[in-house]
């Protein structure tokens, strides 16, 4: 057998995935499924095959195509008006979010959408946001048709209730404007301060005045406009009786400006406009770097963005698309194959074969008969079903988790150590200012105000803010490059306190849609294996697919007389042999209930063996667990049965907790219990079933094979392939505090030099002008350098 395994695997021409047979092909080009082939045909017909030459196998796998009238709800005028951004009755503009977009081929194809659909006038792609602005003529096409053609070529628009009720936040451009203006003013003021510092001839007194007044004029926009974020933030913090780092900064800006303005008007000096605009510029830059978010990702998704927007409600045998919130108990729903079940209901027609893996963590689809209760969140995998709604969408078993009261209020004050540090710093500065004031009051009252104001000017904690925001910004960026995305900079600090790590099993420790098959029974010859593969590749059931992939025999044997019985198995003839593949009950009538998943088969009524299916664990798991075990306690929660208990026990070692058959609320409750014991919990999960636990935990990390797909609301998203490097990422986050502290100490050294001048009342603008930028720049270099070096040492890009 090993000789046959080494043959070159066939790759789908469209999506590049392994093709299990050579059945589906056009000329030389082989496809893994009919969906991929169909996309190729569409593109070929419209002379868009450039798509394939721009990138190698750029397509999106089309195996799980949704049929039917999924987008029928877009014909509803109410829904349509909510989605479109502009229409004049004919020409209509709409923006679709297309998460599948990933390369320049996608761009090419999408921007040529007008060639595929006649009514489309133009389609402009914003790649960073993964959005397409589409303009179409209403008389020639419709919103539904546009959505359908996008789906047909593999870019299904992602439309969710959440997107309709709340628009995606646009980038904050105001701060960029403020930065631009601050930079302009800072540069010019610095230039025009040179004559003052270098000394102007007494004969050119008038010229000096001009320079000073120009500086004054240029500082006004910085003072009134660019520094606004600092005023706002400090005002907010004072109103909450919480002294944050922005308060002393705003105070320093205010005092510097007033004192400088006074000097210019009184003609006694040039003021410190260059220092003031400089710090505003640097601090704004730091903020922007720190706040740079991943616009294409969403950390706030709840069940509403996972569920469809509308579903077909049957009334008098007529299907009518209805918005999800309008579904009431007693409604009859029609669920198509591959559609999600949006509300708890009783199955009234058809055979439900439901994939709950994302909801409960069970790895295999479950069969439900008429009359059984079906929970919301599962995905119907084969055939259409009808069900009678028993609970509203928001009251369903799964969605109730989100509507818990405690999640709505959980938003406390930011408790970053930087704010605490700045508070001590502020007290010290106030004390120094007070002492300086008292001293000069008794010795030389004329120098009192110059001295006190200089203390505030020089000792503003801007260095602390700078080091914090630049370190955070750089760490966020490094992590993002390594496909670990944090919601915001605040999360970085939270990693430091974690002492308990909780993993979900299905989809987190295991790879979804990948199984390990092990054969038990009489040895098979290659021919027999090929027969099995040929039959198995006819079915879309995950186990059949796994079998076809395991045997891997793309011989293209002809399969005749195929019968598929949902939930049981399939039967077909190959080269004159009857092959049955399926459950033990289906294949040989025995009804042994095994907790392990098995694929049984018979060839010509001869039951010769079975394949045992187990989860495919991520390969870097052992090193992940062992390095996490050093600093944290570890637990595994699984929604699945305890089939793999032994394996997990071996992985974790004795003493750690492994719990099976955990419902979503059990997971949430487990986390809460740990927190009550005073533990800081990090939860790592992937599905809707983990969403409650992710939210409850101190740091919730969502694992995702495709970062742009649905991920439950969380603090961080990690690409599944990078999970093994998580301990390193956490180490980098923990380094954050040391780096900030180190640069803070450095800045204090600068401050002490400056303060020596300041308390004596003769801080010259020149000293300030040298100290301020050099302290800012050295902090920038230190923070960037050390965090990048740290990342390099930890082996990151």
């Amino acid at each position: 057998m090993p000789t046959t395994r080494t043959e070159q695997k066939l790759r789908c021409y469209h999506c590049g995935e392994t093709a299990t047979s050579t059945h589906i092909h056009i000329e030389e080009k082989i496809f893994c499924c009919d969906g991929c082939k169909m996309v190729y045909e569409i593109l070929n017909e419209h002379a868009l095959c450039n798509y394939y030459s721009l990138n190698d196998k750029p397509g999106i796998n089309q195996r799980a195509r949704q049929g039917g009238d999924k987008f029928a709800f877009l014909d509803d005028p109410d829904i349509e008006t909510k989605l479109i951004s502009f229409t004049d009755g004919q020409q209509t503009h709409v923006t679709f979010y297309l998460p599948q977009m990933h390369c320049s081929s996608c761009l090419y194809l999408l921007e040529n959408l007008n060639r595929l659909e006649t009514g489309v006038i133009s389609c402009k792609v914003n790649f960073t946001r993964k959005e397409a602005d589409i303009v179409f003529t209403r008389s020639a096409t419709s919103l539904r048709k546009v959505a359908e053609i996008l789906t047909a070529i593999g870019y299904e628009p992602y439309i969710s209730l959440q997107d309709i009720t709340a628009k995606r936040p646009s980038i904050n451009k105001t701060m960029v404007y403020q930065l631009g203006i601050a930079g302009f003013c800072f540069g010019n003021i610095m230039l025009m301060s040179f004559p003052e510092y270098l000394g102007i001839d007494a004969s050119e007194e008038g010229l000096r005045g001009i320079f000073r007044w120009l500086n004054f004029g240029l500082a006004i926009p910085v003072f009134l406009y660019s520094a606004l974020p600092f005023y706002e933030s400090s005002y907010k913090s004072l109103r909450h009786k919480f002294l944050n780092i922005d308060a002393p900064i705003a105070l320093a800006i205010l005092i510097t400006f007033i004192r400088s303005a006074y000097e210019v008007i009184a003609g006694t000096g040039g003021g410190y406009f260059d220092s003031m605009t400089g710090i505003v510029f640097f601090m704004l830059a730091g903020r922007i770097i720190q706040d740079r978010t991943y616009r294409q990702l969403s950390f706030e998704r709840d069940y509403r963005s996972y569920f469809p927007l509308a579903v077909t409600v049957l009334k008098d045998k007529q299907g009518k698309p209805t918005l999800l919130p309008n579904i009431k108990p007693g409604d009859e729903l029609l669920i198509h194959s591959q559609e999600l079940i949006p509300a708890d209901g009783i199955l009234t027609r058809g055979k439900a074969f439901i994939d709950y893996s994302f909801v409960t963590g069970e790895s295999m689809p479950v069969l439900k008969e008429v009359g059984e209760l079906v929970y919301a969140g599962g995905k119907q995998t084969e055939g259409n079903i009808e069900l009678l709604v028993v609970k509203e969408v928001a009251q369903s078993y799964l969605t109730k988790l989100w509507n818990r009261e405690e999640f709505k209020e959980k938003e406390e004050n930011p408790t970053s150590f930087v704010h605490l540090l700045s508070r001590y710093f502020t007290y010290i500065v106030l004390a120094i200012a007070l002492a300086t004031g008292i001293y000069w009051q008794f010795t030389d009252p004329a120098r009192l105000w110059p001295a006190v104001s200089s203390v505030f000017i020089i000792a503003c904690p801007c260095a602390l803010l700078l080091s914090n925001s630049f370190t955070n910004g750089n760490i966020l960026q490094i992590l993002g490059r390594n496909r670990f995305y944090l919601r915001n900079a605040e999360i970085i600090e939270r990693f430091a306190g974690i002492d308990q790590v909780v993993f979900d099993k299905t989809g987190t420790l295991t790879v979804p849609d990948e199984e390990v098959l092990e054969y038990h029974g009489k040895p098979l010859n290659r021919k027999q294996e090929e027969w099995l593969a040929a039959v198995a590749s006819q079915s879309t059931h995950p186990l059949s697919r796994a079998l076809a992939k395991h045997i891997y025999a793309p011989t293209g044997l002809e399969v005749t007389d195929l019968k598929e019985i949902p939930g049981k198995g399939l039967e077909a003839g190959v080269e004159g042999n009857r092959i049955r593949i399926g459950s033990a009950e289906f294949v040989n009538g025995s009804s042994v209930s095994e907790k392990n998943t098995r694929i049984c088969f018979s060839i010509n009524e001869n039951f010769s063996g079975y394949y045992e299916v187990s989860n495919f664990y991520r390969h870097d798991l052992e090193s992940l667990i062992s390095s996490m075990k050093k600093d944290h306690e570890i637990a595994i929660l699984s929604g699945d049965n305890d089939q793999e208990k032994d394996h997990l026990r071996k992985l974790l070692g004795p003493g750690s907790t492994i719990l099976f058959n955990q419902k979503p609320e059990d997971k949430l409750e487990y986390i809460r219990q740990l927190q009550r014991q005073g533990k800081k919990v990090m939860m790592i999960g992937d599905g809707l079933n983990d969403a409650g636990a992710l939210k409850q935990s101190d740091v919730g990390i969502a694992v995702s094979g495709q970062v742009n797909n649905f991920t439950p609301s969380s603090d961080a998203i990690i690409a599944a392939a990078e999970l093994g490097r998580l301990p390193r990422f956490i180490r980098l986050c923990k380094a954050n505090r040391n780096i900030v502290m180190a640069s803070f100490v450095l800045s204090i050294a600068y401050n002490i030099i400056g303060l020596m001048f300041a308390v004596q009342g003769d801080l010259s603008p020149l000293v300030a002008a040298i100290l301020m930028p050099s302290s800012s720049l050295s902090i920038l270099l230190l923070t960037f350098g050390s965090s990048s070096l740290m990342a390099r040492l930890l082996g990151m890009k």
């Binding site: 090419y108 133009s122 960073t128 946001r129 631009g180 540069g187 010019n188």
Partner: protein, 51 residues
């Protein structure tokens, strides 16, 4: 002295032009998508035209 004044006016107005160019480019969203324009230029048949 008057020469310096002229130079001052000239330098500030040149800088102001660049400031406005920057503000304009931010406003029109030129920094929002750094991938599409760079790839778009490489397509042989221009998007949006029958080819």
């Amino acid at each position: 002295m008057s020469v310096i004044l002229i130079l001052l006016i000239a330098s500030i107005s040149v800088a102001a032009i660049f400031l406005f160019a920057f503000l304009w480019s931010v406003k029109t969203g030129q920094f929002e998508d750094d991938f599409s324009p760079a790839s778009r230029i490489l397509f042989d048949d221009k998007p949006g035209t029958e080819g």
